[in-house]
Symmetry: C2
Subunit: 226 residues, 2 copies
DNA sequence: TGTACATCAGTGAACGCGCGTTCACTGATGTAC
DNA sequence: TGTACATCAGTGAACGCGCGTTCACTGATGTAC
């Protein structure tokens, strides 16, 4: 069994800082518990508070119910994603190295925020419709920013805007699937990380070669203009 | 609230036939309940038996526990997938129409077996590791058969076997995502089926154009030969 | 600085509820003669 | 064909358990004077 998260020193902290920290501890407890593969809807309020080292009743000082906690985690995941994009943008990489560099940045992000990504990837098709919808919203936002970045960079100037977005959606869902596999407990073996990264890289390359050779057809253009 | 499934006439049926039918009714009840978006792990034995029109205790005449029911549904889904492939293979379609025809057959299958596909797509990243593993196994089997078919058809003769499999995996996961979206209650609107089908078709086209223009690099060949 | 009061994060006990599982049972189907 | 017995799918009551939620409470932190 997992140990309860240790309460760090609360000595010189203001009340608001302590409260923020406890809230964080609850969120982390939820992510930790999900690492054993039970999924967010498999969590109980009592489990989470126990893992966080609290009484069940204390939970209500921080969240109204479990769904609200889930939404907080979705927001955290969304911020992580947007930080990822910002990093790709700011690193000022020469265009020809752009894709390779982006992939490296993404992999590092997945490693550093394993549990948040696992949460997004599994709950995207998960049990709570509220959370599912919130993740879809974050995903849409991410896809929009990504396609804007690509337009600004002139990565695929021959693609119409809807096609570029479709490309981004495909990349993002592939990315989510890869993140889900990378955090699937039953796929965890020594060295499997590299295999999964290769697999993901290869799939991404297939998609990007497809984008490079894409030609808009009359059919798709007509559809896009509808 | 959903109505309990009506018990069909049991008049002239043998005991084994009745038992088989009840078992089927339990499976259908589970799929029906999941249609409201709660996920398999959100089901309770009591809910399922109630929906099937049975006492909770009667459940144990058919399944040892809920996981066993889940595994039965995975098998049912696997058979559905393999039937899909068989149909593509047998229809004896001229090669140039192959992909378009396959897509049509796939969409028809998703429509006819909505709930089974939804089950596979959501539980692939779901809460039970036993079920997740079983779905991954079915998926591997499906990918293997699909790549064998493609080799036999000579669809992408320039691709190495590992690359062909990677292509198939990408197509299959894209397909699963599309199926999940197509059965996501919060994406259900009039006409959304066509939009989703277009989206899926476009994504698939991107991938297949990528496959057509793929060139094996020394790097990937080296990796494959390891 | 010291004192009296307010705030509020966290406690611990209690509640009613739906859950999975068990058990002895009932009665229709199936079988042996 | 008729009878006596075996099988076993489905019943209904009961169980203990973990769940979410409530409540009056405690005691450290924060504030007004």
């Amino acid at each position: 069994m997992a140990e309860a998260a240790s309460k760090p020193d609360e000595g010189g902290m203001s009340r608001v800082a302590q409260k923020r920290q406890t809230r964080q501890r609850i969120e982390d407890a939820a992510l930790n518990l999900m690492a054993s593969g039970c999924g967010f809807s498999g969590l109980s309020l009592r489990q989470v508070t126990k893992e966080a080292g609290l009484t069940p009743a204390a939970y209500y000082r921080h969240f109204a119910d479990l769904d609200t906690l889930g939404l907080a985690l979705v927001m955290r995941g969304g911020e992580t994603l947007r930080r990822l994009l910002r990093q790709v943008r700011q690193d000022d990489i020469p265009p020809e190295r752009m894709l390779r560099a982006s992939v490296r940045i993404f992999l590092r992000h997945v490693q550093n925020h394993r549990m948040v990504f696992a949460f997004l990837a599994t709950e995207r098709h998960g049990a709570s419709s509220v959370i599912r919808q919130a993740i879809l919203d974050q995903e849409t936002r991410f896809v929009d920013e990504m396609s804007q970045d690509m337009t600004a960079l002139g990565s695929f100037p021959h693609l119409s805007e809807p096609t570029l977005k479709r490309l981004c959606r495909l990349v993002v869902t592939t990315m989510f699937n890869a993140a889900a596999d990378a955090t699937n407990p039953s796929l965890q073996q020594p060295g499997s990380d590299e295999v999964l990264a290769d697999e993901w890289l290869g799939q991404l390359r297939l998609v990007l070669i497809g984008a490079r050779h894409w030609r808009e057809t009359r059919r798709t253009l007509r559809r896009n203009n509808q």
